[in-house]
Every structure is written in structure tokens, then in C-alpha cells.
């Protein structure tokens, strides 16, 4: 273990990243440039999130890593192993037991606490990129709060599909100031962006960090006559029976059999364990 500096990155780099994080927390929703390092994993595998996590970890922390809600997917497993090996920290799959949760594409169903940090892996931090490819121009638009374009994207959705069809990476307005891409989480999770935990967003390839301090106001963009709708599943979870959770479709055979189960595996398991205990009691 002593072959690595704690949490892989050298201390100067971690300090640089912490400064970016602090600036991000001071200006919620603002994309802070940072000198992203080469990590021992390809871009797109969470290099931004890993660097943010590395800069936040202390030896006593317990880390949880989720990918699409699950703790047992390749990406989650390898990042968890990475920190076990380079930082020697404890890991967990339990949302409640974790001090720091690194995530890709989901926010845990269970509300987070003030002593927790949620780190997002971000592929494209710029919400305006879709319509304005020039970085110089999008920066200016952010600094001058020129966000009409964001609504053009939503307008196009309604014009084409009859409703706002953007279902993930749904743009939000942070504290009435910055429009922010919440990373490719389902819009179902958008209401959970108003949280007691610190939320940090790291984009490795794009070299940007942004943040939401606890209890920041985060509003999903919409039209008066087409209000934001986080959408709910039509089914309860086939395993735990939860009705308000985000579901994955699981194909069970090659004859069209399928079931809908919670995408948040820890949430689902905790509920099932509780149900078992109840039956046992």
C-alpha cells in the first residue's frame, strides 16, 4: 500500500483540486477549470469523479461507489478497488454507512445527510454545448446569464415530441444564477439535487469541477404550460415492492419475459432485508 501516496494523487494535486472544489462551493453551479491529471483508467470511466474523491478522502472515511444505481457493476467495482488499494479506506455498499459516495448516473433513493459527500462523474459539464459549440461563447453566456438558448432546447423537445422529452441530464437553474448540467442522472432524480449533503461534480476530460453546497436551491427548467415532470414508474419494484423508486427493466428470458426492479440496489436490498426481519419478528 505504501507504494502509493494516499489516494493515488500527490499532495500538491489534491490541494489544487480542493481549491477548485472550494471555489465551486462558493459559486454554486459555476464550472471551475482545474488541471485534470492522467489517471490509470480511460476517460469516460470516471476520471473526474475519482480525482474529486481522492482530494476529499481522509483515511477514516468509508467509500461507496455506484454505477447506474448498482454497487456491483464493473465501473463501481474497479473504482472501489482502486481506493481500497491506493488509500486503504474502508468501502461499503450501504448508502447510510458511507461518508463519501461516488456515483455515475444516479442519486441514491435514500435521502443523504449533512455529513455525507456525493461525487458525480460528469462526461460533458456544459449544458449549453448542444446548441452552442463555441466554448468562448458559452462562457460568456454563463457570465452574462444569457440562458434563452436552454429553453430553445426544451422548445424543440415539445415541438418534436409533444412534451419535454429530455429524460436525463435535464438542465437545472442553481440559486437563480447558473444553469447547470446535473450529469446524466435521470430527471427522476432532479428533485433530489436539493440535498443536505455536499454534491461535487468532476469532469476529467473536460477539466471542470462544479458543486452544490448543502440545501442549495435547484430548479429544473420548464415552461409555464409544460411544467417539469420528474415522471414516475408505472410499476412497483418486482423485488421489494417499492412504488416511488427509479426502476430498471430486466430481461429475464428470450421469450419477452421481463421485470422491473429498483435501480438502486442498496435501497432495494435494505427494503427486502427489513421485510424479512418483519416476517421473522
Amino acid at each position: 500500500m505504501s507504494d502509493y501516496n494516499f489516494a493515488y494523487l500527490d499532495e500538491q494535486t489534491k490541494r489544487m483540486i480542493r481549491r477548485a472544489i472550494l471555489k465551486g462551493l462558493a459559486v454554486p453551479g459555476y464550472q471551475v477549470p482545474f488541471a485534470s491529471r492522467e489517471m490509470p483508467m480511460p476517460y469516460g470511466w470516471g476520471t473526474g469523479g475519482v480525482q474529486v474523491t481522492a482530494a476529499c478522502l481522509t483515511p477514516d472515511d468509508t467509500v461507496k461507489v455506484i454505477d447506474q444505481g448498482a454497487d456491483d457493476t464493473t465501473n463501481a467495482v474497479s473504482i472501489r478497488k482502486f481506493f481500497e488499494k491506493t488509500a486503504g479506506v474502508a468501502t461499503t455498499t450501504s448508502t447510510a454507512a458511507a461518508d463519501l459516495i461516488q456515483t455515475r448516473h444516479r442519486i441514491p433513493e435514500e435521502p443523504l445527510r449533512e455529513d455525507q459527500i456525493l461525487v458525480y462523474q460528469v462526461p460533458i459539464p456544459e449544458p449549453l454545448r448542444f446548441l452552442e459549440p463555441r466554448e468562448t461563447e458559452t462562457r460568456k453566456m454563463h457570465s452574462l446569464e444569457e440562458y434563452g438558448l436552454m429553453h430553445v432546447k426544451l422548445y424543440e423537445d415539445i415541438a418534436r415530441h409533444g412534451h419535454i422529452a429530455t429524460s436525463y441530464a435535464y438542465p437545472v437553474m442553481v440559486e437563480d444564477r447558473y444553469v447547470m448540467d446535473p450529469s446524466p442522472i435521470p430527471k427522476f432524480d432532479n428533485p433530489k439535487l436539493e440535498s443536505a449533503a455536499i454534491q461535487l461534480f468532476g469532469a476529467g476530460r473536460e477539466q471542470r469541477i462544479y458543486a452544490l453546497p448543502p440545501h442549495t436551491r435547484v430548479v429544473s427548467l420548464d415552461f409555464d404550460d409544460h411544467p417539469f415532470d420528474p415522471s414516475r414508474a408505472d410499476h412497483p419494484c418486482a423485488l421489494c415492492g417499492a412504488e416511488g423508486s427509479y426502476l430498471d427493466e430486466v430481461i429475464t428470458d428470450d421469450r419477452g419475459g421481463r421485470m422491473f426492479v429498483c435501480s438502486d440496489t442498496d435501497f432495494c436490498e435494505t427494503r427486502r432485508d427489513a421485510a424479512k426481519d418483519e416476517v421473522a419478528a
Partner: protein, 256 residues
């Protein structure tokens, strides 16, 4: 009467190359001023300096704002200037591709300026867009089509609708009929004239086409090598040009 726009001693050079030199003029509400001259005469540089697209070296561009009266837009804070640019001002580019979002539907293109100033009711935005498409003679059924599926003339009309939807008072036009077929040009000119009168627009129109200025412009400014060599009433400048360069320009036009 207060001029809507007062340009004073506007100069711009590109290194040793002169863009435009010490240009001054007043533009009054409802006036259409043509700027003519050959390629490289500085007319586009002047237009872009006034519109704030490129930074001038010297001079003032005083605009009579709705809220605070005459203000120098050169020294005005950038957010205010950009706000002017998408509300009270409009810019019609020669190439519609420069003025349109090609990957956004016609309705979205027209609606953008409305959303930029805070419109948040989809139904209202769409109704306004529909109305404007009608005014520029684009069939209602095309509202959800992208401009890339439109003809050149339609694209140019869409660009005009997109610009005029916020009822601007000052419109900059850079060769608005360039690159269009003659028959399409006539239709566009007629439409522009109608809109100018109905909306009481003030227009600065840059073109090298003297027939276009004769039909659209009230008065003319003739530029050569970055300098204004002659100004006056459009038909007077064209029919009784005083400066050697204007005489050459007018006599060089081929008549059919």
C-alpha cells in the same frame, strides 16, 4: 427630433490596413440608410463596429435607448450591449447560415429571442412564431422543419422573422439580398419595404447592389477605401453623383 443613432468619428484599422476612418452620421427613427461601395471599401467593417460585433479603435456610437435615452454603446457594459443586440437591435446577415441555428426548427429559431428575454409559455411562444412565419410568407406547416430543408429565399425570410420578433427599432442588414435569385430578391425587397413601413424600423443597409438601395434606402452613404466620400438622398446620389468615385460606381452599373 433626437436621432435614434448618432455615430461620431468611428475609426477602425486592422494593423496598417484601414477599415473605416472617422465616420460620422445620424440616423433618425424610420430612416433607411444605405451604405454602398466596392468590396474592401470598409462598409462591412463600419456596420460590424456599429453593431458591436468588432471593437472600434476610436469614436462613439450613441443609441437612443428606450429606458435611459442616448447612451454610448461602445462604453456601455457588455451585458447591456448584448441585451440591446437581442431586443432593440437586429442583424440580418448575408448568409442566413450565419444568422440562423440550422439544427433548430423554424419555430425555435423565431422563438429564441422571446425566450432570451424571459418568455416561458410554450403556447404563446409558438403562436408568436407562427404569426411571424406567416408575415414572412412561410407556410404554417413548416414551423417544425429545420432551416436546412428551406430554400435560400425562405432561409433569408426566416432570418428576418427571427430578428424582428422582438420588435426592434434598429436593424442592421449586410447584403440581405446577396446570393439570391433575382425573382426571390424582388419578393424579399417588397417584404422588407412593407415591414420597414409597418414597424417604423430604422435600417442601416450595407450592399453593393445599387438597385437594392434605390428601392429600399431613403439616403445613401458612399464609401471608398474606408472613407465616406459622398452622402445624400438616395435618388440624388444615384442620379446626380458628385464625387468621382460615385460617378464611376453609378456609370459602371449594367442596365438590362
Amino acid at each position: 427630433m433626437t436621432p435614434l443613432l448618432s455615430v461620431r468619428n468611428l475609426s477602425k484599422s486592422y494593423g496598417a490596413q484601414l477599415g473605416c476612418n472617422a465616420v460620422s452620421f445620424d440616423l433618425f427613427p424610420g430612416e433607411v440608410m444605405g451604405i454602398v461601395g466596392e468590396s474592401g471599401s470598409g462598409k462591412s467593417t463600419l456596420l460590424n463596429c456599429i453593431a458591436g460585433h468588432i471593437a472600434q479603435d476610436r469614436g462613439q456610437v450613441v443609441y437612443d435607448t428606450r429606458a435611459d435615452g442616448p447612451r454610448d454603446t461602445v462604453t456601455m457594459p457588455e451585458p447591456e450591449r448584448r441585451m440591446l443586440g437581442r431586443t432593440d437591435w437586429a442583424f440580418v446577415h448575408q448568409n442566413p447560415r450565419d444568422g440562423l441555428r440550422m439544427n433548430v426548427s423554424a419555430g425555435g429559431n423565431v422563438g429564441e429571442r422571446l425566450m432570451a428575454v424571459g418568455a416561458r409559455n410554450y403556447g404563446d411562444i409558438r403562436d408568436t412564431a407562427q404569426d411571424w412565419l406567416g408575415r414572412v410568407e412561410i407556410a404554417a406547416g413548416r414551423i417544425d422543419d429545420r432551416p436546412s430543408t428551406f430554400s435560400g429565399g425562405m432561409q433569408q425570410r426566416l432570418q428576418i422573422a427571427r430578428n424582428l420578433v422582438t420588435a426592434p427599432r434598429l436593424v442592421f442588414m449586410d447584403e440581405p439580398t446577396g446570393g439570391l435569385d433575382v425573382s426571390v430578391q424582388a419578393r424579399l425587397l417588397d417584404m422588407l419595404r412593407e415591414l420597414v413601413r409597418e414597424m417604423g424600423l430604422s435600417v442601416i443597409l450595407v450592399t453593393h447592389d445599387l438597385a437594392v438601395v434605390r428601392l429600399l434606402a431613403h439616403r445613401l452613404m458612399v464609401m471608398k477605401s474606408g472613407e465616406v466620400v459622398e452622402t445624400g438622398l438616395t435618388d440624388q446620389v444615384l442620379d446626380d453623383p458628385q464625387h468621382a468615385y460615385t460617378q464611376l460606381l453609378v456609370s459602371s452599373v449594367l442596365h438590362v
